[in-house]
Amino acid sequence: MMGHLETDMADAVRTAPATVASVRDLKVHFAAKRGVVHAVDGVSFDIRDGETLGLVGETGCGKSVTGRSFLRLLPVPPGILAGGSVTFRPHALCEDCDGAGCDACGCTGRKAVVCPSCRGQGCATCDGTGAETIDLLKIDTETLRKLRGDRVAMIFQDPGKALNPTLTIGQQVAEVFLQHRTDELIELAGLSPETGGALRRFARQDHRFGDGILLSLPPFRGQRRRIQAALDKMVARALAETQVPNPASLMDRYPHELSGGMRQRVMIAQALACNPDLLIADEPTTALDVTVEARILELIRDLQMRRRSSVLYISHDLSLVRRICDRVAVMYAGRVVEIGPTAEVFRNPRHPYTRGLLAAVPTADTPRGGLAAIKGTVPELVDPPAACRFAGRCRHETEACRRFDPTLEPVSETHAVACFIDHPAPEGDQPSFERITE
């Protein structure tokens, strides 16, 4: 009877929409002298299991703020979480196939954790999906801390700045394991799972006064060495995954001794060390040479495919997004103005801004990262009026665009746009691609 119920539960999870994270009406504001900056102002999108979602847009449009919201890495104050939610569905290793990939887990090797309040039946807390759903903006800091770096990881734009200059590579990568893999560490060291006290604290990066002395005495000294050796092994393994030459010798080096590409590999190793369900990559190649960029992209893609992690790939480089993303969300002035499968958005862009971007992109001699082929500049995000954010730069705008604020509406099953060209304006002149007002 019980077993039957459990199978049902598992079924409910299996058939649930495979969405690892959903952003709903996210609003992040910043208190500034000139007023409240609406850096992110009502952003909604889903990230599906195993997909790479590209987030593109001009500088200052709110991409990084959106990405950092997933880990609540925003300076508050001046930042204000003004509303909305970022929900996340943690996954665990599929016990049917032990990570190898089977039908039950859709070949991903991992399955969503069952919702604890409805046990998979579907309830309000889990949006009827039956999968545990966590609002990353609301959970307490300790729960969030446990997810950070373990289930949700992040790679930063400039690896030169994102590594601590005074700690070795080994020490920095090791921290991920110390925070999230204490039990494995103790097991790998051949110690009893009941190991406690100073030794466990050592394996948890939790140093207490006197521990240093205690752990330098036998028999703890030998055991501490074993934990350290196990830790080194895990770090070397994580580094080896990113195809760095000679990972063991890399561990004793300091960040300034490495090239930019090497440092980003270290960041990637660190981010993927715990096999996260979701990776936020905030322009991970912008600070690198073009040749290095290609190799880093390949590496991220390769590791992601193998682990079936989902990736939110933030970039302002459309050609790059086209190469590596399954779907793409185009941001403009704190809003998502268009979202859909990459191929479709590139073939049939529906938003005038997206069209402008695409017209500006592919030539080899346009400066890398430059999107500014559209006339005009991004509007001030201080207390924006109820109007289309793109009005003022749009070739097709009408009176209606200046009076009403278009919302993101579907144009096909997979593709949505926020523009009155595809959706009727509440009143007034309907803009269209045929009509160009200059």
Binding site: R68, L71, L73, T141, E142, R145, K146, L147, R148, G149, D150, A153, M154, F156, D158, K161, A162, L163, N164, P165, T166, L167, E175, V176, Q179, H180, Q205, Y254, H256, M267, Q270, A271
Partner: protein
């Protein structure tokens, strides 16, 4: 360059620096006139004065005088202290011990309290706790320490009678054998807890007074560099790895914020030594500072030169130590550049 090679190189240069310093000390002191005054009395005849001049080579040219002085110094003969009516070399160690005890205690107060306050303040940037700490720090850095000393003395000694003055209660300390000249250490070595408590009791107020200014400077430096470090990407990266805020502060930001603070700590050491002069006079602490003030007033050049030479050499060593600590904290430092 290897750290060891660097240290060796610095140590080789050191004697030359010391010779340079000694020439400067000697010349500057001589600008103040002949040192003969302190050896003279009204009853002496010009003949007797000339005799004394000849005895101390004061009738020779300045370079020759320097040579005699430097030779004496190298042989451990620093001259005669007119103020103490004893050879300088005999009095100096006792005075030095008194000052060391005071400034080490003050330095200890300043470094622990300063680093702690700066961290506390910087981690709570722009919150009420930060503002309070900053007010305390600013007043500490801007208030003349003799003034602060007098205030404390009025309150704790004159009014409340809680704090003693001087260095120790004489009859308590008379039973303690002097090994190091540091009363706290000596009484501990002798196992005399009453004397130890007494020595500590005498030490606390002057140490706090002397350390306050330096505490403020260290705290301010620590705060501003911590605030700067906390804005770095690597701090967010550490958070993104799942480190608790406490660990982010302890393992990442604070350690890096200490790097610029170490330089300031080295500099405040000089601040402390200068401060001892006023503090020792006010608290009647029988150390170098008070000795040196008396010597200035009475024109006791032998004592004065010894003091200045000693502090200069001390500074050279402190600088070297700061550089080494700095290089150890920050691996990016290119030694010898």
């Amino acid at each position: 360059m290897q750290l060891r090679d660097y240290i060796i190189r610095r140590l080789i240069i050191l004697p030359f620096l010391i010779i340079g310093v000694s020439i400067i000390v000697f010349s500057l002191t001589r600008i103040g006139g002949s040192p003969i005054g302190i050896y003279l009395s009204h009853e002496m005849t010009p003949d007797e004065v000339a005799q004394i001049e000849a005895r101390f080579h004061l009738d020779k040219s300045l370079p020759v005088q320097y040579f005699y002085w430097a030779r004496g110094v190298l042989q451990g003969d620093f001259g005669w202290s007119g103020v103490s009516v004893a050879p300088v070399s005999e009095v100096f160690p006792k005075k030095l011990a008194a000052t060391m005890e005071l400034s080490v205690a003050a330095g200890f107060v300043a470094v622990t309290l300063g680093v702690w306050l700066g961290t506390f303040s910087g981690a709570r940037r722009n919150k009420p706790a930060d503002h309070v700490t900053r007010i305390v720090a600013v007043s500490g850095a801007s208030m003349p320490n003799f003034w602060f000393a007098i205030i404390l003395l009025i309150v704790f000694w004159a009014e409340l009678g809680w704090a003693p003055i001087g260095r120790a209660t004489a009859d308590l300390y008379a039973m303690v054998p002097q090994r190091t000249g540091l009363y706290t250490i000596d009484s501990l070595l002798a196992g005399n807890l009453a004397a130890f408590a007494d020595a500590l009791w005498h030490l606390i107020l002057p140490a706090i007074t002397l350390g306050y200014g330096a505490t403020a400077i260290i705290a301010r430096m620590m705060r501003s560099s911590l605030v700067e470090e906390l804005q770095q990407d690597y701090v967010d990266a550490a958070r993104a790895k799942g480190l608790a805020e406490r660990l982010v502060l302890k393992k990442h930001a604070r350690r890096n914020a200490l790097i610029p603070t170490v330089t300031v700590i080295g500099l405040t050491f000089g601040f402390l030594l200068q401060g001892t002069v006023a503090i020792e006079i006010i608290f009647r602490w029988p150390g170098l500072g008070k000795w040196m003030a008396d010597s200035v007033l009475r024109g006791d050049q032998a004592t004065l030169m010894t003091y200045v030479l000693f502090t200069s050499v001390l500074f050279l060593f402190v600088n070297l130590i700061v550089d080494i600590v700095y290089a150890n904290l920050d691996r990016r430092v290119e030694l010898g550049k």
